[in-house]
């Protein structure tokens, strides 16, 4: 049954992707991209990757769509007609797809317990996590501790993306600004239904975000997801009440401090490990009991991740929003 559902979803995914490429209206493309992300999130969920599904739903379908719409407001709604042919890209994509399909014949069956991916490092993680870290969610253990250095890298990817957008958009606009800022700043204040529903939703989004943040050791979730969810809550607030109100609540300087502070918090936990006699990102030395040290380290770095992701997404959102 689950296979049928998965095939159905994947078919929809391909159809959506083709539709995104074919449509010439960029607004339609953005909406289809949101649908694509939602389908992708469902797929991840079927594959038991609930953590990734959460991120994809919050970032892909949520924040990215808003940022795309913000970018769309700065440019035209219609795609420019394509001058050069699409045959070369089409050929490259087809060849790539064909070879990937060809390679899939020799791959172990999906979910095969005897597959190498389940036989080498995974059993060790399953077996040792209880002893070393003692948290139920092993995905969090892998992300935050065993491969915490990769996660530190990913936080800096978010950081790099954020400073990239702020850097590029800090050039003053070429054209003089249109004087439509009056109806922009008020958000959706005059639309009653979104206003009522949105106001009801915002506190629950925050609550859910905090739950995902602090429940990461026990269930799916963690800093990336929580940061994105809280950012969607604040962006929703900005859409309802106007961007100025959101900036009033959390000024840009605070956002900047969040982006830098979260990344620094993560890094400093690593450095603390070094100073206390372990290696970089060794949380065991943070406490006299190594297991509690690991748990402390994970909570701290997840907080760092959440703060940076939330700050970065909001900074990017404001950078786009203030230009139109």
């Amino acid at each position: 049954m689950i296979i049928v559902f998965a095939v159905f979803l994947l078919t929809l995914l391909v159809l959506t992707a083709v539709a995104v490429v074919r449509t010439e209206n960029l607004f339609v493309a953005v909406m289809l991209m949101a649908i694509f992300s939602l389908l992708m999130a469902t797929n991840f969920f079927i594959l038991d990757a609930a953590d990734v599904a959460l991120t994809e739903a919050a970032v892909g379908a949520g924040v990215t769509t808003v940022i795309f719409l913000g970018a769309l407001a700065l440019t035209a709604e219609q795609e420019k007609p394509i001058v050069s042919g699409r045959w070369l890209p089409l050929a490259v994509v087809s060849v790539t797809v064909l070879v990937i399909i060809y390679a899939s014949f020799d791959q172990p069956r999906l979910g095969d317990p005897g597959a190498p991916a389940h036989q080498h490092v995974a059993p060790w993680y399953l077996e040792k996590t209880a002893e070393f870290i003692d948290i139920p969610n092993i995905v969090t253990a892998v992300l935050a501790s065993y491969r915490g250095y990769d996660t530190l890298g990913e936080v800096f990817v978010v950081f790099a993306a954020c400073i990239g957008v702020l850097f590029l958009l800090s050039v003053p606009p070429v054209k003089p600004q249109k004087s439509k800022s009056s109806d922009n700043s008020s958000g959706l204040r005059h639309h009653l239904i979104p206003q009522v529903v949105g106001r009801l939703l915002v506190p629950f989004i925050f609550l859910f975000g905090l739950y995902v943040q602090f429940h990461g050791e026990y269930g799916p979730g963690g800093g990336f997801q929580a940061g994105a969810i809280i950012a969607t809550g604040i962006i929703l607030y900005a859409l309802l009440e106007g961007e100025a109100a959101a900036l009033n609540a959390i000024p840009k300087s605070v956002l900047m401090a969040m982006v830098c502070g979260g990344a620094m918090l993560y890094g400093m936990v690593g450095v603390a490990g070094m100073i206390l006699g372990g290696n970089f990102l060794d949380y065991s030395v943070l406490h006299s009991d190594p297991v509690i040290g690991q748990q402390m380290g994970i909570i701290l770095i997840e907080a760092g991740v959440g703060i940076t992701v939330c700050g970065a997404l909001l900074s990017i959102f404001h950078a786009f929003a203030e230009r139109d």
Binding site: Y102, A103, P116, V121, Y125, F156, F167, M256, A257
Partner: protein
């Protein structure tokens, strides 16, 4: 706390954790000062690592104290050490002289972002080089790529934006291909640690996912390294980037992608995939030769100085690939020495261009007419670095050409044809460097250039440091050559002969 065992981690941690601090430094000049100091520290760490490696010390570092392959392992050998030297050296040297050039090109309120991005590029590249984990390479590739798009797009020239967009798309495709390759290998072996992968891939080496992974990884990294014909993103990105950014990136960004390409291929694939050495040679040698010939010819017709040098870089990448694709110790040594020497030569050339650009506000060939009279030191530096690029005896460039030709000749009759092509390509280099020299020395200066002075002292000084390094390593090539030959022995060490 004894700092020596932590050196591999500090090589990345010091610059990466300085980036958020730099971003918050608002006072004028502070961001530059901190970036430069951090970069110098990174360079000192690299020197410490190199001297350790030369004394036979092995640097392995377990991140979070988790043993490999469960955690992430950093491992540094002589190959990584020489690349670290190039990356951190280029960054430190360029930064010392860069301040006025950056002030001229980037508004002061945007500079903290710029310097933070610079540190991210540095730590990303260093992170790729020190790690022994395939997925970790991808993570740091993302950091360095994203940040280098930011640096390139930073200049006042709006044409940088389409150029960087092209680079972004191409670079993302390259990184995605690499990731697909890693994913396929993970499916078949269940490991991401390179040393572990080397062992475990042996049993499944004949299966299609592994073969495909080899293809995806090679093509993806070739795209990142601008191996001909996947170089299309490079000329415009280098041309329209801020001048000092070009000097930094031209010296090391593509080299790090080549480093991963060579390392992955020789450690994981060459010794496990049957017939891979021949396939690698037959696939890469023609591309390398075409790169040397076609890109050099393109450089002949360029009217923009930076674009000319960018095409020359594509040709030089061809030499590096040529050396590696011979799959011999001599060839690999030549290739790695050339990574080092080309970074020196091209870094010096682009620094000289930055000197010119800060006074002339243009990099068009026609605008540098007669400039040698006004800026004699800059042009003298350009000439000497150009000689190194061509490969004239007494310069670093000669050493690598010499090693390359020796390695190629060892291949017998084929080799003579290859040498012929190398010589033609070098002659083309003579022509395009001469084109610049002719403009600068033998043309009447333009009226508008009447008030042009010599470049700012600190920029000129670092240019000359780079030029003198070219000459020094031309006469005393012991350090790069010993590191390179040790690296080549290591790469080919476990090959079934």
């Amino acid at each position: 706390m004894n700092i020596t065992p932590h050196l591999p981690a500090l090589q990345v941690v010091v610059p990466i954790l300085s980036a958020p601090i730099v971003l918050l430094l608002r006072p004028k000049g502070m961001a530059w000062a901190m970036t430069t100091v951090t970069s110098l520290m990174a360079f000192c760490i690299a020197i410490a690592i190199v001297s350790g490696v030369q004394q036979g010390q092995v640097f392995n570092y377990l991140m979070g104290s988790w043993s490999a392959p469960y955690g992430i392992e950093l491992s540094i050998d002589s190959f990584s050490a020489i690349i670290l030297l190039v990356v951190t050296g280029a960054s430190a040297l360029v930064l010392i002289g860069a301040r006025r050039s950056i002030d001229a090109q980037i508004e002061s309120h945007r500079q903290p972002f710029f310097y933070a991005a610079w540190l991210l590029v540095l730590s990303g590249l260093a992170g790729i080089v020190v790690t022994g984990d395939a997925f970790n390479i991808f993570v740091f590739m993302e950091i360095s790529s994203l940040a280098s798009y930011v640096l390139i797009a930073g200049g006042p020239d709006r044409r940088a934006l389409p150029a960087v967009f092209k680079y972004l798309i191409m670079g993302t495709i390259g990184a995605t291909f690499y990731l697909i390759g890693i994913g396929l290998i993970y499916i078949m072996t269940g490991t991401l640690n390179l040393a572990d992968m080397e062992v475990r891939i042996h049993e499944v080496a004949d299966q299609s996912p592994v073969l495909l992974a080899a293809g995806f990884i090679t093509i993806g990294l070739a795209l990142k390294a601008a191996v001909f014909p996947l170089h299309l993103w490079l000329p415009n990105a280098y041309t329209y980037a801020p001048h000092v950014v070009t000097a930094f990136l031209a010296a090391c960004a593509t080299k790090v992608a080549l480093y991963v390409l060579i390392r992955f291929d020789f450690f994981v694939f060459q010794q496990n995939l049957s017939g891979h050495d021949l396939q690698f040679s037959y696939f890469m040698i023609p591309l390398a030769l075409l790169a040397a010939l076609v890109a050099s010819s393109m450089a002949l017709f360029e009217r923009n100085l930076k674009c000319l040098l960018a095409y020359s870089s594509v040709a030089q990448i061809g030499y590096i690939v040529l050396g590696a694709s011979l799959v011999t110790v001599a060839g690999l040594t030549a290739s790695i020495v050339h990574i080092f020497n080309h970074a020196l030569a091209k870094g010096a050339l682009f620094l000289a261009v930055a000197c010119l650009a800060i006074r002339l506000s243009s990099t068009q060939l026609t605008d540098i007419a007669g400039v040698a009279r006004r800026m004699p030191w800059t042009m003298a530096a350009f000439v000497l670095a150009g000689l190194s690029l061509i490969g004239v005896p007494g310069t670093a460039g000669f050493i690598s050409k010499w090693y390359l030709i020796t390695a190629v000749l060892a291949k017998g009759a084929w080799g003579i044809a290859l040498v012929f092509i190398i010589v033609i390509s070098s002659l083309l280099a003579v022509v395009y460097i001469w084109k610049v020299i002719e403009q600068a020395y033998f043309r009447e200066p333009q009226q508008a250039n009447g008030a042009v002075r010599e470049a700012p002292l600190e920029l000129l000084a670092v240019t000359w440091v780079a030029v003198l390094a070219n000459i020094y390593f031309g006469f005393y090539p012991a350090i790069p050559v010993s590191l390179s030959s040790a690296a080549a022995e290591l790469l080919l060490g476990q090959m079934p002969q």
